[in-house]
Symmetry: C2
Subunit: 328 residues, 2 copies
């Protein structure tokens, strides 16, 4: 197995990528795509594929897609040519998703690929999708997201028959928009492990394994949630600053510890957002990813390949198309 990593993507590239790759102990090979000069001195035990260009973080995907010689462009091309089995980047999400969908193509019966993220909470993880691959989704797409999410959770967390919830503004079936009610009904019919509606304040209780929402809401949620954690951290530091001597002392003793706990909530055990529905294994990490996050993404990609999750998605969507609702 060969896992490709974008050497140039993210705010702290190539340093964090080098650190991550050098720390990997797996029974697979790593290919780092990026500027050879910037990579070759420090990188150990990894093949380098040179890429002349870099897609900047703020570049418009429509423009970026023309940069075929960028690290993302070459990485996705290597994946298409089956020279690597997966490709990971902490770079420009929009460009990465566009490259993946256009170059790799969609798995049979997938109308819309989706981005999913494991939300850490009080009782483990909930895989939330779509967090922004689409701005407009149809009722049927949302059911597909439920199926793709289930396969992903089953493979990566190794949980049999994961439950699927629908993000809504009330628990009862009748609550929510007309769009949501239609989805509710179709999910009830098509997904054997459909749990029902999940409200905003229940997401982090991890009541369900998979939570489906449209890409607009999911994207807002993901970004907002992250900023809430940041703001709490900031408020705490302000509190410590303003506090009396005991609070200050407490702060000094505790700061590192809290930071670690908040880090668990912020950065992902699973490394990043997983793009589901394309013919490839693609994980996009946060721009601010550290080496640990990228390492986690590499291991997640390895497991995704090993568990043949895309094959399962394909088979299950075909079954559903043929009128069979039970997933397997």
């Amino acid at each position: 197995m060969k896992i490709g990593v974008d050497g140039m993507g993210g705010d702290y590239a190539p340093q964090v990528v080098i650190e991550a790759v050098n720390s990997i102990k797996g029974e697979f090979d790593i290919v780092v795509v990026g500027n050879e000069k910037a990579l070759k001195n420090e990188l150990k035990n990894a093949e380098i594929v040179h890429a002349e260009e870099v897609i900047e973080m703020e570049e418009e995907p429509q423009k970026a897609i023309k940069k075929k010689n960028s690290s993302i462009g070459i990485g996705i091309a290597l994946e298409k040519e089956e020279k690597i089995d997966a490709f990971i980047s902490a770079g420009n999400t929009g460009a990465y998703v566009m490259f993946s969908v256009l170059e790799l193509g969609r798995i049979e019966n997938v109308r819309r690929p989706a981005l999913g993220v494991f939300f850490p909470g009080k009782n483990g993880y909930t895989f939330v999708l779509d967090v922004g691959a689409n701005v407009e989704s149809k009722v049927e797409d949302m059911v597909d997201f439920g199926i793709m999410g289930s396969m992903c959770v089953e493979g990566l967390i190794e949980k049999k028959n994961p439950t699927v919830g629908l993000l809504s503004i009330g628990e009862e079936e009748i609550k929510g928009s007309y769009f949501n009610k239609e989805i509710f009904n179709l999910m009830k019919e098509k997904l054997p492990n459909f749990y029902g509606n999940i409200e905003g304040h229940k997401i982090l209780d991890n009541v369900v394994d998979v939570l489906v929402c449209d890409g607009f809401v999911g994207n807002v949620l993901l970004k907002f949630g992250e900023s809430v954690v940041d703001t709490v951290w900031w408020a705490m530091k302000e509190g410590i600053k303003k506090g009396k001597i005991f609070a200050k002392l407490g702060g000094i003793l505790l700061q590192k510890h809290i930071k670690k706990e908040l880090g668990r909530l912020r950065y992902q055990k699973y490394g990043g957002a997983i793009l589901l529905g394309v013919k490839g294994v693609n994980i996009i990490c946060h721009g601010r990813s550290d080496a640990e996050t990228i390492r986690n993404a590499i291991y997640t990609a390895e497991k995704y390949v090993k568990k043949r999750i895309n094959k399962k998605i394909e088979e299950n969507l075909k079954r559903r198309k043929n009128g069979k609702n039970n997933l397997f």
Copy 2:
């Protein structure tokens, strides 16, 4: 001026209401609506209007609306009869909104009332609406929300010409759903202080004074945000528990302090969600509100009445209907 308060609404009623009302020092009278027996012994300096029934927190609004003798039903009726100038409750939000809209009616030219909440962040407050009065909104409604929100911020925070943002998934005009693009264009045309799109992670930076989103997204955000704060607090306590002796000591010294800071993020200086667009001054507090939150809601209601915010909303919507876009 007379401010009405629901004596029976919320998880800690009537105790927190009694405590809040007893602590009020304002140049206005307070009317508490609720079970006379439960209230009369402890309540000082407030008139009591007896209500035989209580609407439970989990009751379906459609059923609850029949309880005309409930504390919410009687409170809204008193407001309608102009015996009180405002009515505050920490009870069942759905029932409260339904009672308000049906009994008090809408301000002229308001098609949809909206619920707004001040989100505390790093740089003050952003008034976010709609947070759940509607499940489906039209493009024009969203512009109205922007106008109503501006009047509310101008009156309550006393900030001239507040800026209005639109919640979206990218900063550029072209980003977001078709629905959002239409809103963007109409806001640009109709709102002189339109700032543009705001992404999820920018909400708590308080870049804009008013942030407009549809009731579905707003409701999910509000509930999710609260749960993130709770989860961070939980994670910290877990961290302290698991920590070594120094972390534990730090935790003990700091716990109270952090709790206070998190409280600032969780509970509101302004007391609750403000229902805009009805012929009345109506604030719904969180079910878990403490006495301080309810006291803040009472002072917010007083200011809202004093500043004649509803009159301003009415005048500005009329101006807009007559083709004048400048707010005043």
